[in-house]
Symmetry: C3
Subunit: 633 residues, 3 copies
C-alpha cells in the first residue's frame, strides 16, 4: 500500500489567477491529494437552479494538470441561504426547542425530506459531471456528520419521521408500550401519532424512549449518507469516503462506513485534548502543545475498523486552530509525528487542513500550511520532511495485533441515556482500556460489536457493551485466547430492560450482577490486592471462578475458561495491572512505557513516538522531543 499526503483547498476563496501557483507549490511540497468543493454550494448554484460549474471545471483542471488527484466533496453541509426560502422548516431544532439558524454550517435536519431531495439533486449533478473526470480520484460525502451537535434534532420533521420509524419497528402501539414498559407512570400510547420526541419532559423520559430516538437519529444519518452514495455509484468508480470527527458517538459510524469505500477522519490533537477529553490539569499541561498521546491512535484504530481496513486522515491539524477554548501552537516536530503516527496505524493518506489560512470567515484563525500572506507556515517544512521520508520508507502493510477492543455506538447512546453515575461515559471507559493497552506498547485493533470471527486475536476486550449481539455471542468460541467483558456488559436487553437473569448472561459463565453502585469522584472501592474500582462497582454472585477479589471479599473478576467478566471500573493503575496479567496469561509480551512514549509496529517496521516535550532514552534509542523514530520491527 502506498502512503500519500494531501491538503484541503478552497479555490473559490482565492482569485483564479492564484490557482496555478498554489497547485504547483502543493505538488512541489510532495502532496498528492487535494480535497475541494465541500462548502461551495453557493458558488455552484448561486440561485435555485442557476448552476455554475465552470469554475469548478477549471479548478479541477488546474489541479489535475499539476499532477494532483482531487477528492471532490458534496456540498451538502452548507446549503445556501436560498434553500431556507424553499424549505423554511429544514432547520434542526435544539433540545430546548429552538431552531438552529442559518449563518454558519450544518443548518439542516437529517429528517427533512425536502432538503434530502435537494441534496440528491446537487449530488446527481456533480456526479454526472465529474464522475468520470480523470482527476477526480475520490469523493467525500458532506462534511463531518455530527459536528456541532447536529445529530439530535427536535424538529417537526424529526418528530414525523420518528413516528414512522417507530411504526415500522413496532407495528402496533401496544407492542411499543410493552417494549418500552410504558405501563410505568401511565405512559402508554394508543397511537404512534401521540409519541413525541423525548425532550423537555418534566423529569427524565423513559430510557427506552430515548434509546429508540438515538437509534432513529443514527439511522437518519445512515440514510442521508446512503442516498448520496447511491447516486455517486451510478456515475463513478472512484472510492467514496466521509470525514468523521473525534469522539462523535451520536451515530453508528460502522453503519455509515458500510456504504463507503474509505473511512477518514479529521484529526486535531491539540484542540481535542482541550475540549473533549477527561484528564487531569497536569496531563493537559504536559501535552498542551502535543495533544493526548493516545487519542489520535484510538481514532486511527477505530476508523480502520469503520473503513474495513481502508482509512485516511482527511484533515490533519497543521498548526494552531481557532475553535478550542485555548489554541496553542504545536511543538516543532508534532506535525511530522502526527502524520507518521497515522501511517503507522495504516492510513493510506494524510491530508492537511488547510492549504492557506483564510483571512476571513469563522476559521480565519485556523492555521494552514501557508499563512494568509502565502508564506510557509511552520507546519509546511514538516510536511515536506514527511514527503521525503515516505519516499524512502518501505511500503505499508497490514499490521497484526494480538488484542482487540470492541467499540459500540449503541453502548454510548445507552449509557448517555442512563449513566446512573454522573461521570459514567462509554467512550471514557473504552478509552481508559485502550490507553492501558497502549501503555503496554501493544498494537490494538478496534472492532465492531458485530464481528463474527475472533480467531485472529489472543485477547478481546468488551467493557460496557450494552447488549451482546447474537453474532458476537456466537463468535466467542472462535477466540483462541481470552475474551474479557467489563462493567455493565450485556446488562440490558435491546429494549433497554434489565434481563430476567440480571446479566451479563455470558455462555458458560455462572455470574450475575446482583447490585451496582456508582461512586462520586474521590470515592473508591478497594480491591483485595491493593487496587481499586472507581466510578462504578458491581456485586457479583454465582459459581464462576473468582480471579480477583474486592477487599470486602466479594468477587471483582470472574472467569469460566477463557471468558472473563470484570465487575467494576478499575483505576488506571489497577486496570494496567489487570490487563497486563491477562496479556501475560495469553503469552502477549508487554512493555510499561512512560506516559509520553508510544509505539506501533506494522510487522516490517517499529515506530516510536515521543509525544513529550523532553527527550527520552528507551530500549537503547534516543528520542528527541516531539519525534518519531522508525526501526526495523
Amino acid at each position: 500500500m502506498t502512503r500519500s499526503l494531501g491538503v484541503c483547498y478552497y479555490p473559490e476563496h482565492w482569485p483564479e489567477t492564484q490557482w496555478p501557483e498554489d497547485a504547483a507549490r502543493m505538488a512541489a511540497s510532495g502532496l498528492t491529494w487535494v480535497r475541494i468543493g465541500e462548502f461551495a454550494w453557493s458558488r455552484l448554484e448561486p440561485a435555485p437552479g442557476k448552476l455554475d460549474f465552470d469554475w469548478l471545471d477549471r479548478a479541477i483542471d488546474v489541479l489535475g494538470r499539476a499532477g494532483l488527484k482531487v477528492v471532490l466533496g458534496t456540498p451538502t453541509a452548507t446549503p445556501p441561504r436560498w434553500m431556507l426560502d424553499r424549505h423554511p422548516d429544514m432547520l434542526a431544532v435544539d433540545a430546548a426547542g429552538r431552531p438552529r439558524k442559518f449563518g454558519s454550517r450544518r443548518h439542516y435536519c437529517f429528517s427533512h425530506r425536502g432538503y434530502l431531495a435537494e441534496c440528491k439533486r446537487i449530488v446527481a449533478l456533480l456526479a454526472e459531471r465529474y464522475g468520470a473526470n480523470p482527476h477526480v480520484a475520490a469523493w467525500q460525502t458532506d462534511n463531518e456528520y455530527g459536528c456541532h451537535d447536529t445529530i439530535l434534532s427536535y424538529s417537526d420533521a424529526a418528530r414525523a419521521a420518528f413516528r414512522d420509524w417507530l411504526a415500522q419497528r413496532y407495528q402496533s402501539p401496544d407492542a411499543l408500550n410493552r417494549a418500552w414498559g410504558n405501563v410505568f407512570w401511565s405512559m402508554e400510547y394508543s397511537g404512534f401519532d401521540q409519541i413525541d420526541l423525548p425532550n423537555l419532559t418534566v423529569t427524565e423520559a423513559n430510557p427506552a424512549h430515548v434509546m429508540d430516538f438515538r437509534r432513529f437519529a443514527s439511522d437518519q444519518v445512515v440514510a442521508f449518507n446512503r442516498a448520496q452514495v447511491d447516486i455517486l455509484r451510478r456515475y463513478t468508480r472512484a472510492p467514496v469516503a466521509h470525514n468523521y470527527m473525534g469522539r462523535i458517538t451520536e451515530f453508528d459510524h460502522y453503519a455509515v462506513g458500510a456504504d463507503l469505500d474509505i473511512a477518514s477522519w479529521d484529526s486535531y490533537p491539540i484542540g481535542f485534548l482541550s475540549d473533549r477529553l477527561e484528564a487531569t490539569d497536569a496531563h493537559k499541561a504536559d501535552f498542551l502543545r502535543q495533544g493526548d498521546p493516545d487519542f489520535q491512535a484510538f481514532h486511527h484504530d477505530l476508523y480502520r475498523a469503520v473503513g474495513r481496513g481502508r482509512w485516511w486522515v482527511m484533515e490533519q491539524q497543521p498548526g494552531p486552530v481557532n475553535w478550542a477554548p485555548y489554541n496553542p501552537a504545536p511543538l516543532p516536530g508534532m506535525v511530522r509525528l502526527w502524520t507518521w503516527e497515522a501511517f503507522a496505524h495504516g492510513a493510506e493518506a494524510v491530508l492537511y487542513f488547510r492549504w492557506r489560512q483564510a483571512p476571513f470567515g469563522q476559521e480565519q484563525m485556523h492555521a494552514g500550511l501557508l499563512r494568509p500572506d502565502s508564506e510557509p507556515a511552520p507546519g509546511l517544512a514538516e510536511v515536506e520532511t514527511v514527503a521525503r521520508e515516505l519516499a524512502d520508507a518501505p511500503m505499508a502493510q497490514a499490521a497484526p495485533a494480538d488484542v482487540a477492543l470492541v467499540f459500540d455506538y449503541a453502548s454510548a447512546w445507552a449509557w448517555d441515556t442512563q449513566p446512573q453515575g454522573a461521570d459514567f461515559d462509554y467512550f471514557r471507559l473504552c478509552f481508559a482500556w485502550y490507553r492501558a493497552l497502549r501503555r503496554m506498547g501493544l498494537n490494538i485493533d478496534i472492532i465492531s460489536p458485530d464481528t463474527d470471527d475472533l480467531s485472529q486475536w489472543k485477547l478481546v476486550l468488551a467493557p460496557g457493551l450494552f447488549t451482546l449481539p447474537d453474532t458476537l455471542r456466537a463468535a466467542l468460541p472462535s477466540c483462541s485466547g481470552a475474551v474479557v467483558f467489563g462493567p455493565r456488559a450485556n446488562s440490558r436487553r435491546p429494549d433497554f430492560s434489565i434481563p430476567p437473569d440480571l446479566g451479563p448472561s455470558l455462555p458458560g459463565l455462572d455470574a450475575r450482577v446482583a447490585r451496582v453502585e456508582s461512586l462520586p469522584p474521590g470515592s473508591a472501592l478497594p480491591l483485595a490486592n491493593g487496587g481499586q474500582f472507581v466510578h462504578w462497582a458491581e456485586e457479583l454472585e454465582g459459581k464462576a471462578v473468582v480471579v480477583l477479589l474486592r477487599e470486602d471479599n466479594r468477587a471483582a473478576m470472574v472467569r469460566a475458561g477463557g471468558l472473563y467478566y470484570l465487575g467494576g471500573w478499575p483505576s488506571d493503575a489497577t486496570l494496567f495491572s489487570i490487563l497486563s496479567d491477562l496479556c501475560a496469561a495469553q503469552g502477549i509480551a508487554t512493555r510499561d512505557l512512560p506516559s509520553a512514549l508510544r509505539t506501533r509496529s506494522d510487522g516490517k517496521s517499529r515506530f516510536w513516538f515521543n509525544h513529550g516535550a523532553s527527550a527520552l532514552e528507551w530500549e537503547g534509542l534516543h528520542l528527541p522531543p516531539a519525534s518519531m523514530l522508525r526501526v526495523p520491527a
Copy 2:
C-alpha cells in the same frame, strides 16, 4: 400506638399470576401495609371514559386476603396521554417559557381548571368504588407534590388564575400598587389584566410581586389537594395522607396537611445527601453510604408537625436509587437504622419503595426489597429484622421535647426571592440550628409559625422568620423559658416592605437592625468571644441587654427577659456554643455528640443511632457501624 411496616407495590407492572405469591411474601416478611395505584391511571382509564377497575378490584382482593392493608393512591400525578388531547394547554410551563411535555410524570399545571375537573372525576370514581372496601385502610392523594420543580408554572392557566387571586386579595389595582410599592420604576398597573407572571423580566422583578406569586402557587397546591380530599371524605372514613418529599419548600405543607389526616414523606437519605444538602466534600464522603445524620430526623420532626402528630414514611430507600448524581449502596445496617430512626421520631408506619425492582421504565435502577429476578435484595433481611424487633419493642408513645424550632414556608419563599447574599437559604439556616441541637442529643419539635401556645417548650427558636404572625406574637408570653429569634426575623411586613421601625419589632425588646451585610464564602465577622458570623451579619442598635458582642463592640445578641434576638448567622461551632449556653440557662441538659452519633428518647426508650462507618463507644454503650441501639430511657 402501633408501629408497622409496609411496601409500595405496582400490581399493574406484573402478571396477575404473580400477585398472590408477592402478597404472601410481603406478609411473611412482616409487612402490614401495601401502597398501590398512584401511577395507574392509564390502566384504570385506558381511553377517555373507558374505565377498567376490575384488575384493581382483584389486586386489592389478593392483597387484602393475604392480610395486608391497602393504601390506595389517586393517580393524578400521571395523567394518561389522551388527557393532553382533551386539554392541550394543561402542561406546566417552565420559567424560560417552555411547556413541560408528556413523557415522564407530574406533567400538569396546578392552575388548569380542566385538568382539575378530570382529577375530581377519577377520584370520585375511585372513592365511590373503594371508599368502603375493608382492605383499603388509607388513601394517598396524588404523589410528591412539588417533585421535579413542578409548583411554579408560568402557563397561561397560571397567569389567569394569578390575576384572579390578586383581584381577590387586593380588590383594586391601586391597593396592589400601594402594597407592592409599584411607584418604584413606574411599575404601576391600572388593571389586574396587566399583571404578568414574574418570569423573564429584564432584571429582577419586584420582590412583592414574586412573593405574591409564591403565595398563589402554594395556594394552588392546597386547593388542588383539597378538591380530592373533599371527594374522598364523602365516600370513606379511612385516613387520607399525602407523601411529601425532602427539602421541598415551594408550598405550605402545613396548609396542605391541615386537610389531611396523616402526613407522610419519602425518605431517600443517600440520594438527598448527594443532591440537596450543602455540606463539605469531607462530610459527604464520610456519609456516602449512610446519608446525612440529621437530614431525615429534621423531616421526621417537620412532618410530625405537618401531620399534627400523625405521620408515616411512605417511601423508604431500601438500597441504591437511580436519580441522584451518584448512587452508592447503603452500608449494611442502614435500612434498619433508617426505619428505627423514623419510629423513634414517632412514625406510625414505614413503607419501603418498592417491592420489586422494575426491569423497565425510568426507575429500573431503583432498588426494591426484591431484585428484578425476585430474589431478595440486601435490604429485605434488614426489614425482616425490624419486623421481629418491633414485636418485642414497647408501644410507641408521644415523646417530650424541651426545644422547638419554628419552620415557616413563607420565609423560604421570601429569602429565595431576596437572598441579598447568594448563599442565604432559609432551609439551610434552620437546618444548621437543628443540627446544632441534634449534636446536643436533644429531642426537638418543629413547629409552625402559627403555633398559638408555647408553654410546653423551655426553648423556642425562630431564625430567619420573614414576618412574625400575630398568633405567634401573642403566644410569646406563654413560653416559660426563652424564645430566640435569629437573623432577618420579622424584618419584613407581609407585603415585603421594610417595617417603619426596621424590625425585628419584638415585644419589649428595644432593638433595631440598623444595617445588614451579606458575606461571601471565606469571609467572616469575628465575635468578641472568639466565635464568628458567616454569610450574614446585622448591626443592632437599641437599649436591649447585650448578651454577646462582636469584636467591633457592636451587639451580636440582645435580650429582654426571655426574649432574645441574634443578629447574624453563626458558624457551626459558634452556633453550638450559643445554643448550648441558652440550653444551660434553661436547665436543659445537653451532650456533645460525635458527628455520626445521634439519639432520641420517646420517654420510655432511648434510641442511639451510629450513622458512621466505624464502631463507637459512648456512655458505656458499644455501637457497631450503621447501627441502632435501644435502651430504657
Copy 3:
C-alpha cells in the same frame, strides 16, 4: 472649577409633606445637587396622554427653594405598563429568542420606532415645561444605557433595523458578501432581507457578521440618545448628561458622549469588585469592604475623556447595595475616600445614590444616606465631612498626565466576538495596563482611538487595538515620547479580515505577527529576562529592533524609534517591569506603590488614598485605613 456634592431623590416615593424637611436636610448636609424624575413616567403620565406634571412642579419648587439645583432625568428607562398595550413588540429579545418582559426596568428595544416616538413625545413635554426653569440646572437622558445587558436585542424591530443599517453601509449584497467573506461556508446573500441577526446559529456566526451587529447596536444607542438631546437643546441651555455604568462596553460611550455636555457614571466600588472584575480570591478578600483600588479610577479617567473634560459621579455607593452576589458594608472612611478620589480625578460633582433607602421595590436593600426610618445612615456623616473639607480645599484644576492609554469600544466588541482564547478580554487587558501605571503612582489619561494629537503625552499605550484608525495613525508622529502597541493591535481590517501583511502594520516598524497562541490558565511562555507572557503570545518576524526576547529567542517586543510593539500579554509583574522601563526611558518618574495605596496629583495638590484595611506609612505620611490625605503637590 467648583467641586460639589449632591444626591438622587425620588419625591414620588414619599408623601409630599415630607419633601420640605428632606430638602432642608439635604442642604444642611452640604449637598448642592438633587437628581430627580428618571423613573417617574407612570406618575407623569398615568394613562396614555393623561399628563400630571403638577407634583413635579411642586417638587422642583420645594427643592429649588431649599437652595438645591435640580438634575432632571428623562423617564425613558421605565416606560409604564400601558406602553406595552400600545407597542406590544417594543420589548427587547434575548439571545435565546425570549422577549424580556415588563416588571422591572429597561424593557425596551433601542430599535423600536414606536417607542422612540413615545420617548421623543415625553421628552418634548418635559423640556418645554422645565427647559427654562431656574431650578433645573442640568438634565440626564434615560438611565444607565446598557445596564442589565440591554444593548443587544434580537427582536423583529432590531432585525429590520439591522437590515436597513447594512443596506446603508454596503449598498449591495455583493459588497457585503465580499466584505464579510461570505464565500466561506456558502454564506452568501442575494438580498438584505435574507440577513438575520447572528444569534442561535448552529456554530459560531461569521465574526464579520457579529461585528457589524455590534456596531449597529451601538449606533442604535447613540441615535436613541441623540433624539432626546436634540429635543432638549431646543428648550434648555442647561447642560445635558447621561449616567454611564462600570465596565459596560456594549456601546461606544465616546459617540454618545459627543452629543452631551457632561459624562457621568454610577460608581459602586464594592458591588463591582464582586460582580465584574477578574481578580484572585485573596485580592477580593483584601478589598471586600473597599472595592478595587483601581477600578473606579479607571472609569473616572475614562469618563473624563468621554465628557471631554467635564464629568460627574451621578450615583455614588453610600453603603451596602442590594444587587451584587454578596453585599458587605463599606469600611468607615470609604465613602469619603471614594468621593475625594473622584474629585482628584477631576469630577465636578459627586451625587450619592440615594437620599433615603426605600422600604419597598427591588432596591429596598440598597442603602441611602438616610435609613428607611429617616435616621442618618453611616455614610451621611462622611458626606458632611467632605462637604466641610471642600470648603477649605483649593479650587480644582485640570491635572497633567504624562501617560495616555487608548481605550476603544470597537476593540471590546471585536475580541468578544473572537476571543481565540477563552479568557481574552479587551477590558481586562487595558485594565491590567492601567493598574500597572497606577501602581507606579502616575496620573493617567484615557483617550479615544480617534485622538488626533498626541503631543501632550510622553508615553501613549494601545494594547489590543482592533484596527488603527487613520486619524491615530496620522497622529503618531505628534507624540514626542513613545507609543507602545500591545498584543493584537491592528491585527484586523475594519471588515474583520486579517490584513494582507498580517499586521500590526505600523509606520516604519518592520514587524509582522507570524503566528499567535492563546494559553490556558496555568500556562505561561517564558521571556529571556525572567518575565513571562500569559493568556496570549505572538511570534514576531521582521527587521525591527528587538528590545525584549522570549526564552526561545524570538522577539517579544520590537521598536522603531519611539514606536513599540509588544507581542504578548505580560503577567502583572512582567508588565510592571516593562512599563517601568518605558517610563524611565521617557524621563517619567515612577513609584512602586503597595497594592492598597494610590495617588493622584492635580498639579496643586497631591492626593493619597489608602484603600487598605490597615494603616500605611509612605513617604513620611501616615495614612490610616480607608483614608485620603491631601498634601501640596
